[in-house]
Amino acid sequence: MLADAIAAERFRLSRDRTALFWGFAFAPLIAMLFSMGIDIFTRAVLHRTIPGETTDLANRAMGAVAGASGPFTALFLLIGAAAIFAGDYRWETWRLITPRNSRTNLLAAKLIVFAEVAAWSLLFTAFTAVLAGLFSSLVNQTRLVAPPGGSAFLGHFAGVFLITWLEVMLVGALAGLVGVVTRSTMGAVIAGLVVVFVQSTLAATMQATTWKSLAIPAYAGRILKAFVAAPDEMRPEAGPAGLALLLLLAWLAVLAAGAVTLFRRQDLTKE
């Protein structure tokens, strides 16, 4: 059953501290330490403070979450995803596992567990951004303020969180597909990183919102985030945003279905 496969995968990942740390905790931690380091350097070495009178912790958290689908974070997420999706090729452990559950369940469980841990990683990103903000406020002696818009902010944050999570799921599903095809953790990381880098670069060069630009996940993510969180005057139309969402979901479905289909047909001769 799928529930059994999920429980086993979750248990297993809970024991793989290396993958958990490097894949899902390192990027938020290093971003926090980097931010703190800049505050300390500016204050202690340059004897200045970072300009501004206020620190908006909530917006800092949302900004950090929104940026978590970028290439830097993707590198580490790919390490975690590769450990989940391609670990059984690396350790040659499929032969222990596949006779105990269906292949569809096994791969679906990996995708679901990746989804869970990716969500926790994004929450951790928000938490570390808040810690970094508090530290910055202390060092720069700025006043803590609530985000503009009050309770509407929660909706914006939830929207940005879900869109980033969807983008991160694409990274995971890509690692799953490449992991199955190459039977290699390194292959999943490198090929995944190349794809993430190329599509981020392409998205940055796109000027007009067309269906072609929206087909680039990084661009679609940007449009969607602007749709849920940008001020009214900068908010894109609902049509392109809806299409962006559909295309992101379609990418996820294609990558996940591709990984499952190939895995179901794959001969495990060595693993």
Partner: protein, 306 residues
């Protein structure tokens, strides 16, 4: 008669290599069934097909009457295929816990009991990645048996183990088959192991079934006394119809164990010098090599068999 594993005209090709070449075999439920053959004969491929790890090119394989690889039939089977490997971050206990979860058998699997039974009680909380080959084999055996399946497929279960461990595992296999009614399919290159543990044997050669039968029938039946003597012709004269030359300085005596002292006395009285007397059990090696003879290189197979 019910069958644990059935293969019908099974073919598996990997590019130009034909790992299984129309193999047909029926392995009855109950007892220990040995599968012999040189490297590349198709033993592991058959097991991988049975367990759904590999898909046949053509033909069918069935586990307990259901198509191999289906969840319903796999739930009744346990296996250890080749040298087992484990995620290095899991302890021995974690490995079994994970596998129990994967099978949905967390309630019925007695992890500690099986770790003790395979001799890993003291290493249950050690990372499996740090285990020696023998310990990995033991953990693989626990993983194969601990959900109490009706059929267990073991591919080289004692490779890398010390002699005491080998004896222990052989006893465990025989015990599970005799007392708990588990059907065990055992592939091994150790002919002596197969002879001691198995009830029936199949010999594979180049992806085909070369021979199959009861171990006793294949090995030529009862044991014989082998004597290293000088001169051999005088010994053969004493033995008469019960004797047979086995090289220039040895004879095989077809006698009962109880007749041994009298026979040796008679030989000594006839002036025959005896430098060694040893009971030779059924000769599986000859049966094995004989089965491979028509289709393969004898020297190569002999080396593989050892």
């Amino acid at each position: 008669m019910s069958f644990a594993l059935e293969a019908e005209s099974l073919v598996k090709t990997y590019g130009a290599v034909r790992a299984l070449d129309g193999l047909s075999l029926r392995i009855p439920a109950g007892g220990v069934f040995g599968v012999l053959g040189p490297n590349g004969a198709g033993k592991s491929t058959l097991f991988r097909i049975a367990l759904g790890l590999v898909r046949p090119t053509s033909g069918t394989a069935r586990l307990f009457g259901a198509p191999a690889g289906q969840a319903s039939s796999l739930r009744r089977a346990g296996a250890m295929i080749e040298t087992p490997r484990y995620p290095p971050y899991l302890t021995a206990r974690d490995v079994l816990r994970m596998l129990a979860m994967e099978s949905g058998a967390t309630g019925s699997a007695d992890i500690d009991y099986w770790l003790e039974r395979v001799g890993l009680g003291g290493a249950a909380d050690r990372k499996a990645g740090t285990f020696s080959v023998g310990m990995k084999q033991r953990l693989g055996l626990a993983a194969a048996f601990f959900t109490r399946p009706e059929l267990v497929i073991l591919d080289e279960p004692t490779s890398g183990m010390d002699p005491a461990g080998i004896q222990e595992i052989r006893a465990l296999i025989r015990d599970l088959a005799d007392k708990e009614g588990v059907t065990i399919i055992l592939a091994s290159h150790q002919l002596d192991e197969v002879r001691r543990v198995c009830d029936r044997v199949a010999i594979f050669s180049k992806g085909k079934l070369a021979a199959e039968g009861d171990v006793e029938a294949l090995t030529g039946g009862k044991p014989r006394l082998r004597l290293t003597v000088s001169p051999a012709d005088k010994a053969l004269a004493v033995l008469g119809a019960k004797g047979q030359a086995d090289g220039p300085n040895a004879v095989l005596a077809d006698v009962l164990r109880a007749e041994t002292p009298a026979l040796i006395r008679a030989l000594v009285e006839a002036g025959v010098e005896i430098t060694e007397a040893r009971w030779r059990e059924g000769d599986l090696e000859s049966a094995y090599l004989g089965a491979l003879e028509p289709s393969s290189n004898k020297t190569g197979n002999l080396a593989d068999a050892r």
